[in-house]
Every structure is written in C-alpha cells, then in structure tokens.
C-alpha cells in the first residue's frame, strides 16, 4: 500500500495539497501516482503569476510511460514552482511529499480546500481504481 499522509488533502486526480498556513497551498502528486507513472524524466512547471482555474491543467509530468497533466485543485495564482525539478525531476519518485512538490499557489477562496478529499477518502479512491 502506498503512503498517504494524514495531514494533507487530496484530489481524485491524485494531487496532494498542503496548507502552508500563510494563505498559500503546495501541490504535488501522491506516492500512488508516482508509482503508477514510473520514472519521471521531465516536469513542465507553471509560470509564476499565472492565474489558474479549479481543475485546470497547470503542470505536466513526463515519465518513461506517459505525459500527464497535473491539475490545480482550486482556483488561484501561482506563487512558486519547484526549481529543483528542472534538473532532478526524479525527486517526485524519491520524495513525492517533500522534495518533489510541484508548485505553490495562492487560492482565491481558501474555504474551497474543505471540499477536497481527506486521507481516508483518497485511499478509497485508490482502492476503487484497483
């Protein structure tokens, strides 16, 4: 069973979301997602300042198997992209919840965060997919 930390929120499309407590959220892909994708070779990160809608394709993660869109779980504005992924995209494989975060953004409505899945609900999504 893949790792699903309790203190994060999740989307059905396998992104995790972390509340940084300063009005910004950090987004990455889950352990289950990185395992399914296989070795990541390239990450196309969003530009800082870009406005994204909820569910909008915001970044692209390319693995030896496939290129996959990463969706912004909420509407907001991009604040930062993880620079280390340019040279070490495989950080997503080795550390999906820490070093392998993909982008940070300021949501226009922080309360929408509550509508995302908690760890238990996400685990169920993964199980149903299997």
């Amino acid at each position: 069973m893949s790792d699903v930390p309790n203190d994060l929120k999740y989307s059905k499309t396998h992104e995790w979301v972390k509340d940084n407590g300063d009005g910004t959220l950090t987004v990455g892909i889950t352990d289950h997602a990185q395992e399914a994708l296989g070795d990541i070779v390239f990450v196309e990160a969003p530009e800082v300042g870009r406005k994204v809608g909820a569910g909008e394709a915001t970044a692209v993660v390319e693995s030896v198997k496939a290129a996959s869109d990463i969706y912004s779980p909420l509407a907001g504005e991009i604040v930062e992209a993880n620079a280390i992924l340019t040279d070490t995209p495989d950080a997503i494989n080795t550390s999906p919840y820490e070093d392998g975060w993909i982008f940070r953004f300021a949501p226009s409505d922080m309360s929408a965060l509550d509508a995302l899945l908690n760890a238990a609900a996400y685990e169920q999504v993964v199980e149903e997919e299997d």
Binding site: A36, D39, V41, F42, V64, K65, A66, S68, D90
Partner: protein, 489 residues
C-alpha cells in the same frame, strides 16, 4: 561501431571518388570552407558491410510480426514500389508544366476520387505530407470555417480521452483550448459528459472511430447530432480507418473533416519518421478551405489548382504536390484492391484482431473491454501479472523482442493501466498469430517462475534495456572527432 570509427585518413572508395577537383570558383571565397568535412573515410566494401549489418539489426515488417497498435504495420506490397518507381514518375521534375505530367496528374486525380468514395467525403486534398500535418490542416479548416462566418467565440475543441494521442496537440497548434471528454466503462464516449461540455464555445470535436481502446463507438450518430446542434464540427482521425475500410464511411457518420494516414491504411512504407502522407477529406461547407494544390480535371486534361483558383484555401503545407512517391504507392494499392478488396482489408483486419483477442483471453490474459467485440485492435491489461509477479507491461514488451516479435504499443491509451495495444493487421497468417500467443503464454510462465529473466529482458538484442531516464536527460546524438577514443579508451 559507428562508420566514423572505421575511418582511416586517405582511404577511398575508388569507384565513387570524383576524378577531378570540383569546380567551386563560382562560390564566394568567404563562403568556402577551409577545412575538410569530417566525413568517414572507408572503402566501398566497408561501407556496404557496415550498412548491411545495421539493416540486419532492424525489427521491420519485412522480418518480424509487428503488432504495434494504432500504427497499422501491414505488408507493403512490392508491386506498389515497382510501379511508383517507373522512370516516368521518378524522373519528373516538380516544376515541369502540367502538360508534361498528365500521367501522374491523372493518377493523383484518381486517388482523390477513390479516397472521396471510400470515406464518403465531398472533396479531398492530397497535400498534407504526414498524419500530423493532415490533422493540422483539418483543424485549421475548422478554424477558417468559423472565422469566415464571423463566429469568433468558438475557442474550444473537444477531445475524448480515447482519441488518438496527437489530437490535443493539433488543436493547440491551431490556437484552440482542449477539453477532454471521458470514456464510459463500455468504451464508448460518455454522452452525458459530452452534452454538458458543448456550447457556443465549441469549435468541434476530434474523434477516432474505432477509438484507441479498439471499439467502434455505437453512439456516433448521437455524438454527431449533439456537436452539430451546438454549432461545432466533427473531425475524424483516420488512424484506425483500416477497421472500417470499404464498410462504413466517416462521411455517412456525419463527419465534416477527416485525415487519412496513407502510410497506415493504404500500406505505404512507414516507420522511422516517414515519409508519410495525410490527405484530408471534407464535407461541402469546408471545401473552399482545402489546402492546395488540388488536381482538377477538365474533360481529358488535368491541371493543378493553386492559390489563385482557391482564394479561401488555408494555403500550402509544403513545396510542390505532397509526398508524390507515397501518393503513387497508395494509388497502386487502392487500384489493386478495388472496391471489394477494400472491404476484405477491414474484414480480415478485424477477424485477425478478434481471433488474437479470443485466444489470449482463453489463455487467461485480461482484455480491457471483454464484453465488446474488438475492431482491428484490442487492449490487454497486464495488471494481474504486474500485481502477482511484479512483471509489468514494459517487461513483457521487452521480452517479446527476445521471442522475435516487435512489441505492441505499451502504456497507451493512458486510461487502461499496464496495457498492451495489439493490432495484428490483415496481412498476418493464422500460424503467425498463434506463434505470438504461444510467446505471450511462455513469457507469463517465465514471469511466474523466473521474474528476473523477464525484468532483465531483452537478452538477445544488439543492445540491452536502455536507461530511458538517462537517455531523455543526457542526449547523445552527434558523433564528434575523438569521441570514440573516449569510449574505447
């Protein structure tokens, strides 16, 4: 070994060496190179052996079963080659006047008519020189159509997730936003999701039918109605045309534009990046926008139609008249098949795919859509094998090489995990199909008894499994002097 590594200074292929120094006085001194180019210096025998050896390392349709899903790797009849290489075709200068090329123009005009007839479209342009260019032309015509009506609000192209992988890229290239439409559990487009997605922003939908999950969408008429009612157009990706050739016509399904991959369905050689040919066919409302040139017939005379006769055309996609040699091969192929032969292509392509699927299912492999009849291709998911033995679809694919089979398409379409997309085509014999099934069974036995053997495959190829990650990040594409010493030293 690279041919550069066999190079010895001063070695020559005598028969090929020019006897006199080339005349370069008419090239301005500043543009002449001062050093010799780093070309390999080898004997003629060495060059012949080197390239013959390389060609023997190829997996090709002439040497191996090549069930690469969605690519239609079928036999390329030698007769098409011989006839397309008649000296009159080969020697024709592309700038020769129409009056000096009536024969080739007649063939191309005939090919336009044949493609119209077999797809049910109103008009055809042969100009695009690849499938991707055909897609670009098709979407560009959709854009031109909406603009010509002053309808600038249509900014979205709908693409089902079971469409061909290139479709979203073509839509984006033409400036559209892509909205993905999900596929239902039965493999058909999710109609409710489609209904919810269409609107005044819908420029069109790009569909592959049969889709990349290998089933024919039974709701195609409802899809056409929904998109047309919303004011959008229907684009048919011809990637899987082999399944319905001579049986069902995209024009009759309600499509407004189609591109055909002659290098797939019409059996011209492909692989290695080309050359291809991607003619486009259109319904009457898109006809003014067809890319040029077209071939027109006035009585017994044929002539090119270019920008001056076709002012609303989206324009030219290449110099001259497309990939002429490929178009001629496709023309010969179509004439050899005739109307009935085209239907036979679809019959045997689907028969072979369904036979192969039935045998693999019988052997215990899991079909992704077991309740559906396959079209000309089908999906096997190796999720059970991956879970039980830790051996995934890529491992199976690599091990198939050791057994003498080109791997099927892996990990595409993305909506089926651990998948192989298998397309045998109509030109394989029952014995060859049976051999492939035996290989799959043998590999699964190995996966159970000796998984490391499969995970380490291939074992018999000139190169072992490549490090995909490193290859993608550290490209090594160009030879430079001294590089071989680095490697050998």
């Amino acid at each position: 070994m690279l041919i550069h590594e066999q190079s010895r200074p001063g070695r020559r292929a005598g028969a090929q060496a020019p006897l006199t120094k080339p005349e370069i006085q008419d090239i301005p001194a500043g543009l002449r190179r001062r050093s010799r180019p780093a070309l390999p210096e080898v004997s003629e025998m060495q060059a012949v052996r080197h390239y013959t050896r390389l060609s023997q390392r190829n997996f090709s349709i002439d040497t191996h079963f090549y069930p690469l899903g969605s690519c239609t790797m079928k036999y390329n009849p030698r007769a098409c080659n011989s006839l397309a290489m008649l000296p009159g075709f080969l020697g024709r200068h592309p700038l020769a006047p129409d009056t000096h090329g009536q024969g080739v123009l007649a063939c191309l005009h005939d090919l336009q008519e044949i493609l119209k007839s077999v797809t049910g479209m109103h008009a055809v342009s042969l100009a695009p020189s690849a499938g991707a260019q055909g897609e670009f032309a098709g979407v560009a015509m959709i854009r031109a159509y909406h603009r010509s009506r002053g309808d600038h609000a249509r900014t979205e192209i709908l693409v089902p997730d079971a469409a061909h992988g290139t479709n979203p890229a073509s839509a984006v290239m033409c400036g559209f936003k892509v909205r993905e439409i999900p596929t239902g559990d039965d493999g058909d487009v999710d109609l409710a999701a489609l209904e919810a997605a269409v609107g005044p922003q819908t420029a069109g939908i790009m569909l592959t039918n049969p889709s990349t999950v290998g089933v024919f969408d039974r709701n195609i008429q409802a899809i056409a109605r929904t998109v047309h009612t919303a004011g959008g157009l229907l684009y048919y990706d011809g990637a899987n045309l082999n399944a319905i050739l001579g049986k069902v016509r995209p024009g009759d399904m309600g499509f407004d534009v189609i591109h055909m991959n002659l290098h797939k369905t019409f059996s011209t050689p492909h692989g290695g990046g080309g050359p291809g040919a991607g003619p486009v066919g259109v319904s009457p409302r898109l006809e003014p926008f067809l890319p040029v040139p077209l071939v027109a017939r006035d009585g017994d005379a044929y002539r090119w139609l270019t920008e001056s006769e076709r002012p609303d055309s989206i324009g030219r996609l290449n110099a001259f008249g497309g990939n002429m040699g490929i178009l001629l091969r496709a023309y010969v192929y179509a004439r050899m098949l005739g109307r009935e032969g085209m239907g036979r292509v679809a019959e045997f392509a689907t028969l072979n795919a369904n036979y192969l699927m039935a045998r693999l299912k019988e052997a215990g492999f899991e079909a992704a859509y077991p309740q559906r009849r396959a079209s000309h291709e089908f999906i096997v998911t190796l999720k059970p094998e991956s879970r039980q033995f830790g051996v995934n679809a890529m491992d199976f694919a690599k091990r198939l090489l050791d057994y003498g089979y080109h791997a099927p398409t892996t990990y595409f379409p993305l909506l089926v995990p651990e998948c192989l997309l298998i397309e045998p085509t109509e030109t394989e014999s029952k014995e060859d199909l049976d051999g492939f099934v035996e290989a799959m069974i043998a590999i699964r036995r190995e996966a159970r008894e000796n998984p490391e053997l499969v995970k380490g495959a291939p074992h018999t190829m000139p190169v072992r499994r490549l490090d995909d990650v490193r290859a993608a990040r550290h490209l090594d594409l160009a030879w430079r002097p001294g590089a071989s010493e680095d490697v050998n030293g």
